[in-house]
């Protein structure tokens, strides 16, 4: 497998290829521009020289005569190292003065004047202009053409100079770009390196969040994802730790009691009393089974609240399901449970299974500790949804009420049953879905309610 490519290498490669392509483009464009600029400026000089010469032509005794001005050549000397050719020709293109080999434009555009054209000058490429001056004098009438040409040294030197200037600028800009990108990448990646070091140096059980201050936003996104992940791990660890210690704690007393009763039953000689002891032992193990069920259900609820996606749940369905399941029947056989629900759905964002477990526990608690009749109800008020269970009694004593919901609380009257554990499931579910547990005396008795925020669309 190939080494992962570093970001720096990638960006440097990208910048370099950009510079290469850009450099070639800049070179081509500036060469074209430079040539055009050089052509334009030196064409003006050529035209100036030709105009000077044309201006100097006079008609003497019926003949056009040029009095070649030095100024024309001083203009051409702006290109100091270029050779020069010129010719003045009469109406029949006969040479009046100048170089006989100065060429004429190949196809003269009608009316175009002056005409610039490229041609050779003794084997070198050269640029020419041809200018026409028309005379209408008594003794001479016709056109006199002036041709002036120059080789291309100065033009090429100027074009090259302009190109080099543009390329030098582009190269400097490219170098600066490269340096800046290296610097920026280095400084942007530094927090990642620090983070890696931080993670490596960490205690394996340290799941506290990594500080996100001073890191670039892009890195902060990743960092907060890592932090969220670690927080989830932390909660899972906590749940596991809680489950293990709860299990150990909760199981110790009933298991010790079972062992004692089993020993008693084993030593009993009287068959009648032995049977009684055995039936007590059986009741004890049933109670242990119920306790185990609740503990597993609590662990499941805590696990689900962490891992199962939230979906809209109608609390009325939850209440109906709990009554129809009739799990409470074996705790209080024949007990009547009243259902108080409205016409409109009461929707919250949660996990239906966890809510059902919470509702069951509330109901079982009421049936076990409260005074009949017991009712279960659902209502929505003030942006909050309530799933409540009420009975006709006054509720637990105030000092017990203070401590309820903790993991190991058990009412003194519970007699080995797990009221505290049931309530702690309700509290966990409430916390997991952003709600709370309310315990208060209502108008018609004591009520325990699971209060959750209404789902946004239902609240609207």
């Amino acid at each position: 497998m190939a080494e992962p490519q570093s970001l720096l290498t990638r960006v440097t490669g990208a910048v370099l290829s950009l510079l290469l392509v850009g450099g070639i483009l800049v070179a081509l464009v500036s060469w074209a521009n430079g040539r055009a600029a050089a052509r334009e400026s030196y064409d003006r000089l050529l035209l100036g020289a030709a105009s000077d010469i044309a201006e100097s032509i006079t008609i003497q005794e019926g003949r056009p005569v040029a009095s070649l001005p030095v100024s024309a050549f001083q203009l051409l000397a702006q290109a100091p190292d270029d050779r020069v050719a010129y010719a003045v020709r009469g109406p029949g293109r006969e040479l009046l003065t100048g170089h006989a080999d100065a060429p004429a434009p190949r196809a003269r555009a009608r009316g175009a004047d002056p005409v610039f054209f490229d041609a050779q000058m003794q084997g070198d490429a050269a640029r020419y202009v041809e200018l026409t001056r028309r005379f209408a004098e008594r003794d001479f009438s016709g056109a006199v053409t002036v041709t002036v040409g120059q080789t291309l040294r100065a033009r090429n030197a100027m074009a090259l100079g302009l190109t080099q200037g543009a390329l030098a600028t582009a190269a400097a800009a490219g170098l600066a770009l490269l340096l800046i990108s290296v610097f920026v990448i280095r400084s942007a990646m530094r927090p990642l390196v620090a983070m890696a070091g931080d993670l490596l140096a960490r205690d394996p059980y340290d799941l506290t969040p990594i500080a996100t201050s001073g890191v670039p936003a892009e890195v902060a996104v990743m960092l907060s994802a890592v932090n969220r992940f670690m927080a989830r791990l932390d909660r899972q660890f906590g749940a596991m730790r809680g489950l293990i210690s709860d299990t150990a704690h909760q199981l110790r007393t009933p298991v010790a009691a079972i062992r004692a009763q089993a020993e008693l039953a084993a030593e009993e000689r009287d068959p009648e009393r032995q049977r009684l002891a055995l039936s007590r032992l059986s009741a004890r193990t049933r109670g242990l089974g119920g306790l185990l069920d609740q503990m597993l259900s609590r662990a499941l609820v805590i696990h689900r609240t962490e891992s199962v996606p939230r979906e809209p749940v109608d609390l009325r369905d939850v209440a109906l399901d709990v009554i129809e399941a009739e799990d409470h029947a074996h705790i209080a056989p024949g007990a009547d449970v009243g259902l108080v629900i409205g016409e409109t759905p009461v929707t919250v964002l949660a996990d239906a299974f966890s809510l059902q477990e919470a509702a069951k526990n509330l109901l079982v608690n009421s049936l076990r500790h409260g005074r009949a009749p017991v009712r279960i109800g659902v209502e929505a008020a003030g942006g909050e949804a309530r799933l409540w269970v009420g009975d006709a009694g006054e509720g637990p004593p105030a000092d017990l009420l203070e401590r309820l919901g903790g993991r190991f609380e058990r009412a003194a009257a519970s007699g080995g049953q797990s009221a505290g554990l049931g309530l702690s499931i309700v509290v966990s579910v409430a916390e997991a879905f952003g709600g709370r547990v309310e315990m208060a005396p209502g108008p018609d008795g004591f009520r325990v309610a699971l209060v959750l925020p209404l789902a946004p669309e239902a609240a609207a």
Partner: protein, 348 residues
């Protein structure tokens, strides 16, 4: 007999047509290079001897030419693509500029040529070697010191005030016979309005146009002429007759740099380039200065302001003087002042 006479006649006719005045050989090296020059071989001898001492493998065939003929020949060889001289050295630098402008030059760059100022170097194909003033000379015995003109204005005044003194006894180069004479006269016409007045003055005073520096100097020394105008100073210092005085005109003095070029088709361009670098080097310059071809005197010695020194620059502007119509006009004007040449064959 008749044949021999005809042959002699042909030879006599051919010689001035070819205008090759003398051939001198220097050195004994195996590789012979040809130099065509307008300069007298005698003046160049010390320089060439020193060069050959450093390059014993070379020998030099030195041909002396009239400037117009030298130009005609070089141009003809260039157009025909024929190898001729390996180096051409001419005082008629407008001809050299025209040859280089016609792509007849061979390109050479070296540290020595790079030291030349831009005005004495064109396209790395033409180099100005010397610095020689265009002067007025006069006969010390016949011209009173008070009458010696120190400038063109003084010369004009003298011609106006003492027409009898100078009648028929003032001379200058025939510009049709001498490329150098033409260059000086044309440069004068561009330099100042005194040129027109001078022509007028020469016409009134019966000025004489003649050929060749040596003859002019001799004629002034002999008293045939009192004053000669626009004579190349280096020739005067080379001949240096006792009774000939030299004036660098105070209004302005033209300085000529002889043009050196290597023809594109030269057989021995490297030898010619070696000679060029030698001539531009310290030793070559010292020897040329000793031969009077590099006038290094500053304003204090000549009494000449820096601004009055007008070097003739090697630029395409010199082509103006070669323009057919312009030179025809120029020569016509000049001929009107001087009349037809004095006993010399009219130049082609």
């Amino acid at each position: 007999m008749i044949r021999l006479a005809l042959l002699l006649l042909l030879l006599c006719l051919a010689a001035p047509l070819r205008a090759q005045e003398a051939v001198t050989r220097f050195g004994t090296g195996a590789t012979e290079m040809t130099i065509r020059s307008t300069t007298d071989a005698g003046i160049f001898r010390p320089v060439l001897d020193a060069f050959l001492e450093a390059h014993p493998d070379l020998s030099i065939r030195y041909e002396q030419w009239g400037s117009n003929a030298l130009y005609a020949l070089s141009r003809e060889e260039c157009d025909a693509g024929r190898a001729g001289a390996d180096a051409v050295l001419s005082s008629a630098v407008q001809h050299m500029v025209e040859l280089v402008n016609h792509a007849c030059g061979w390109t050479w760059r070296s540290a020595r040529t790079a030291e030349l100022p831009p005005s004495l170097r064109w396209r790395d194909q033409l180099w100005g070697l010397t610095r020689e003033p265009a002067v007025m000379i006069y006969n010390r015995d016949l011209l009173a010191p008070a009458d010696v003109p120190q400038s063109r204005f003084a010369l004009l005044d003298l011609m106006r005030q003492k027409p009898g003194l100078l009648r028929g006894r003032i001379a200058t180069y025939d510009i049709e016979a001498s490329g150098l004479g033409y260059l000086f006269a044309f440069s004068d016409s561009l330099e100042a309005t005194t040129y027109g007045a001078l022509l007028e003055g020469f016409a009134r005073a019966g000025g004489v146009a003649t050929c060749c520096s040596a003859e002019l100097i001799r004629a002034v020394s002999d008293g045939r002429f009192l004053i000669a105008y626009n004579v190349l100073g280096s020739y005067v210092s080379a001949v240096a007759p006792r009774n000939v005085g030299v004036v660098l005109p105070g209004d302005y003095t033209l300085f000529l740099s002889r043009g050196y070029m290597i023809p594109a088709r030269a057989a021995q361009p490297q030898a010619a380039a070696a000679l060029l670098d030698f001539l531009l080097g310290a030793e070559g310059r010292a020897l040329m200065a000793a031969a009077g071809m590099i006038d290094m005197s500053g304003p204090s010695e000549t009494g000449l302001q820096q601004s009055a020194m007008r070097p003739i620059q090697l630029t395409p502007a010199l082509l103006v003087g070669l323009d057919q119509q312009r030179s025809a006009q120029f020569i016509a004007l000049w001929r009107a002042a001087f009349g037809p040449g004095e006993g010399l064959p009219p130049a082609p």
